[in-house]
Point group: C2
């Protein structure tokens, strides 16, 4: 059987690295035809040496010459926006989309026309532009599988399950509560980036780790659950579950909860996304112990006001989520660069949620317009502070 | 649509009562055509008045006249072994088999030829005579659905799931540990029946509550899991889970655990057994709280030696389980009547497991023969003690 052609967008990030680790063990199944990184030239070059893809793409054009010096033959080097566009037009059996932030949206939309399956690890694109993504995927009969752990767990539950829609009373997402859960609200102003990045259970990229502390991430996951599976927002519940073992639960109307439990290790949902409908043996997850203590309880919206704002925005079904996603991306970036205190993330999002003009998203240009608008406005808010 | 004709074997017991509570709310779906009790004449008579079945059966013939005085018309009264045999030959859409102990085996085997679905709440029949039961069910295309909570949870997981058999690494049953879990082994000799019957999470019949304390019950459930679903014994794991919220888990080879969680309330698995493949709204289970703390860990075979003996017997695939089931039934009965100490249950089972002659079960008569032999021998052991 011919090997499956796979493209990796974001190969040098946390998800990309995990995926290549899985693929390495299954060279008989996958042929890596393209790797795309952002700025990490050395690491990308080492991946190219190992996987020998036909194409390699570096998003930061300014560093392209350094990459060219390292890779003299065998792989065609693409760079910058134009290079990424060309990379996105390559035909593949599976594309792993693991570029972080809204930057993933353009290559994703382009690639939908050229790939049979997209394993989508990016959530911002779905938050900002779900209707355009899923419409195009439908048109091109491209399968989109969520890699995000909680959403992948719902995918597993729904997929491995014959639930009839009317049987479902509730779908629960679980939230670890993030790195600052034990911190009193009054003390949040003084926390450092290092403290916020020290997540209790998950080892992830930086922005998502900060978003876990504000629960913006969980709000975005509720949007994903809604968009991927057509679950009404009133049927989506969020539970505090500090241990990150239960990733999702489906409650049927006869009061049975079906839960999907595994250690917090991205290899698991990644493997399911790449190999689905097959399951492969995974012997080496993070956590192999046999004794588990866990708990779940309702989440406090009082403690996490941004979660409530995201859910409110989601229900508006207009540009609201584009605005909040962009504002959050900017604010988190400012916080991580030491320009603002942690609490200003919340302040900025609350502020922009007050001042933006709700408008319908008629086409993808509207998404880019409002994304850009919100970035500029958020910067103004944060510079003025 | 015509209502489904339902027969209840063991209507006055714990499971029978719960079933009639469900059926009462769904009179448009079910027509109770027969009720069968053991000795509780008054309660059976009150059920007959409420449900007006065409047939009523009392297993204890000596009390039949008392029942006849209470029910003068409307229902045909059957009594004793002959009556039960006639009752078992009634045609039904669903039969709930909730007679306790090995006494269920004969009416079950007879009724398989006359019912389209058997909701089987009895586990002793499966433990002692699975191959004869499932062979006959196959011949008559009669569906057998396990009502036992843990096994029903596996049924729900398998049924609502498209697991391929090769995907399954392990099936876990959970054990609460029973009423004596916190009791040191040296203190077990002094426990009273009342102490043993005070189960921490489940409200059940007497024998099964005692069997929960010795974990004989969990061994029998492993047999059920093996027989109903063809799961190899080495793939069946038993976890200590004090809270009885997780009823079963299926672990796939890619390290995902799918669990079925609900409060310890028999209404839930009963409803699924009676209404399957439909799920009905169940708003009023025992436990409605939203905050849960739970844990699971490997069970200690050292602490529960009978569990290990049952599992050893199960693997022999001969008369061993017939012997142990009969011995346990006798010993538990002796304990509940105050004739022996709690620790003699274990002693009796260990003793009989040493002295019996392992033999193949060629036909159902062999089951009855060894059942009878083990009862006599166990009584001898216990009288001599």
């Amino acid at each position: 059987m011919a090997r499956k052609k796979i493209l990796i967008f974001g190969s040098t990030g946390s998800v990309g690295k995990n995926a290549l680790r899985l693929i390495k063990e299954k060279r008989d199944v996958f042929e890596v035809i393209g790797l795309c990184g952002n700025r990490n030239v050395n690491f990308l070059a080492s991946q190219v040496k190992e996987f020998r893809p036909k194409y390699v793409c570096l998003r930061d054009e300014a560093l392209a010459d350094r990459l060219r010096k390292k890779i003299k033959r065998g792989s065609k080097i693409l760079a910058g926006d134009k290079g990424l566009d060309e990379f996105s037009r390559l035909d593949s059996d599976i594309s792993l989309m693991a570029i972080s932030g809204i930057d993933c949206l353009r290559p994703l939309l382009t690639n939908i026309a050229h790939s049979r399956r997209i394993a989508l690890a990016n959530k911002e694109a779905v938050v900002a532009a779900a209707k355009f993504i899923f419409r195009k995927a439908k048109k091109y009969k491209t399968e989109i599988i969520p890699v995000d752990s909680e959403i992948n767990a719902i995918f597993q539950l729904f997929n491995s399950a014959n639930f009839k829609n009317g049987d479902i009373e509730k779908v629960y997402l679980t939230a670890s509560g993030g790195s600052l859960f034990s911190c009193r609200r009054e003390a949040l102003g003084g926390v450092t980036a290092a403290q916020v990045l020290n997540h209790p259970t998950w080892d992830m990229g930086k922005r998502i780790t900060v978003d876990s502390a504000t629960l913006v991430n969980k709000g975005f996951e509720a949007v994903e659950a809604h968009e991927y599976f057509n679950i009404e927002y009133k049927k989506i519940g969020i539970l505090l579950h500090r241990q990150s073992l239960i990733h999702a639960m489906v409650k049927t109307k006869d009061q049975a909860c079906f839960s999907c439990i595994y250690p917090p290790d991205m290899k698991k949902p990644l493997a399911y996304s790449l190999f689905y409908p097959e399951r492969i043996s995974l012997g080496s997850l993070k956590d192999k112990k046999e004794t588990f203590d866990f708990s779940y309880s309702p989440i406090s919206y009082r403690k996490f006001p941004l979660l409530e704002i995201i859910l409110e925005a989601a229900k508006r079904k207009d540009n609201s989520l584009v605005i909040l996603n962009a504002a959050d991306e900017v604010a988190v970036d400012y916080f991580l660069s030491g320009k603002i205190k942690f609490t200003y993330i919340e302040k900025a999002l609350k502020k922009i949620f007050k001042v933006y003009r709700p408008s319908e998203l008629k086409n993808i240009k509207d998404v880019y317009y409002w994304d850009n608008w919100a970035r500029i406005e958020t910067k103004k808010i944060l510079e003025k502070k």
